[in-house]
């Protein structure tokens, strides 16, 4: 994978993680599986879990610890009110960016 693709993906991790949580709370591995559906993103756990920890630290995500049948309690993440506002801004920016970049790259009209 080329360097620029890595850079693009890096920039999209936060948006993707928050997008994966807009449908409801999920624990780390569950979020990872949701993100795995977007194959070109190729985001792995060593990227996602630190981002989850940072977003929780920044107050954009809240954590609920619940027992798990598989073993240790699971940490369920969900968007806080601040996180939802932040995600709405990110969505809006992404829409503009997507349109502009498509226009430049493919000659599409926005």
């Amino acid at each position: 994978m080329g360097g620029w693709e890595t850079q693009v993906r890096k920039g999209l991790v936060e948006l993707s993680v928050m997008a994966a949580l807009q449908g409801g709370e999920a624990y780390g591995y569950e979020i990872l599986r949701r993100l795995a559906e977007a194959e070109p993103l190729a985001i792995t756990e060593s990227t996602v879990y630190p981002v989850l920890a940072r977003l929780a630290k920044d107050g954009l995500l809240a954590v609920r610890v619940a027992p798990s049948p598989a073993g240790p309690p699971r940490r369920y993440y969900h968007l806080t009110a601040q996180g939802r506002r932040h995600f709405a801004q990110m969505q809006s920016y992404w829409k503009e960016l997507d349109a502009s970049v498509n226009c430049l790259v493919f000659g599409d009209r926005p």
């Binding site: 890096k10 920039g11 991790v13 624990y27 780390g28 591995y29 990872l32 792995t44 756990e45 060593s46 990227t47 879990y49 630190p50 981002v51 989850l52 920890a53 940072r54 929780a56 630290k57 954590v63 027992p67 798990s68 598989a70 073993g71 240790p72 309690p73 699971r74 940490r75």
Partner: protein, 224 residues
Amino acid sequence: MTADRMELPPEVRSKVDAHLDAVEQALRRSGAGREEARSITDDVETQILDMLTTRAAGRTPTVEDASAVLAQLDPPEAYTGSAEARTGAGEAQAVVLPAAPPRPPAKPKFCRTALLALLGFVPIPVFVMLAITLGPFVARVQPVPGGAQAVPSVFRIFICCDVIPLIAIPLIGMLWTTILGIVAIFQIHRAKGQRRGMGLAIFDAVAAPAALFLIVIVLLLTGT
């Protein structure tokens, strides 16, 4: 890692724990705090146990299962580069940069104030030379009966012009040296080893008062 764990055979448990410990160490090396590292390893542990449960499909997981699961995960070293993800893109560089090597202690500089204070002593030799040169003339500027003076009037102007500086300039010089000497002592003391010249500063501070004290003693003893 948490206390409430899925029952695993000890060898499987130790293999999983070794991976989790390595991940935690990698995170700590990259600057993550204890709590942050712990929450990330908890997520990794949950993933491992979920994957083991799925793979074992109801039977007890074996070491081979653990090896197969761990092989699908990112290696612990991958978390060393997670500083960017944890801090946000703009801040990452500040976190991962190695600490600058400690600077060798700077050689203490000589206190300039202590040197500057020495300038106060310059007028003293001039004062002595002038005193020797003009002393005899001054001694002769004594009114004599009848209003006549032993020194010609042209010299009187020179003497009057010289006598005031003769006394004032050395006194100002001594005051200058003493004050700057005291200032230098404080500067050296506050510099905590970064300035040297304490001996000279003390000399500056005490030399002039000591000299004046000696002169007074000598004058008193000689009855002048």
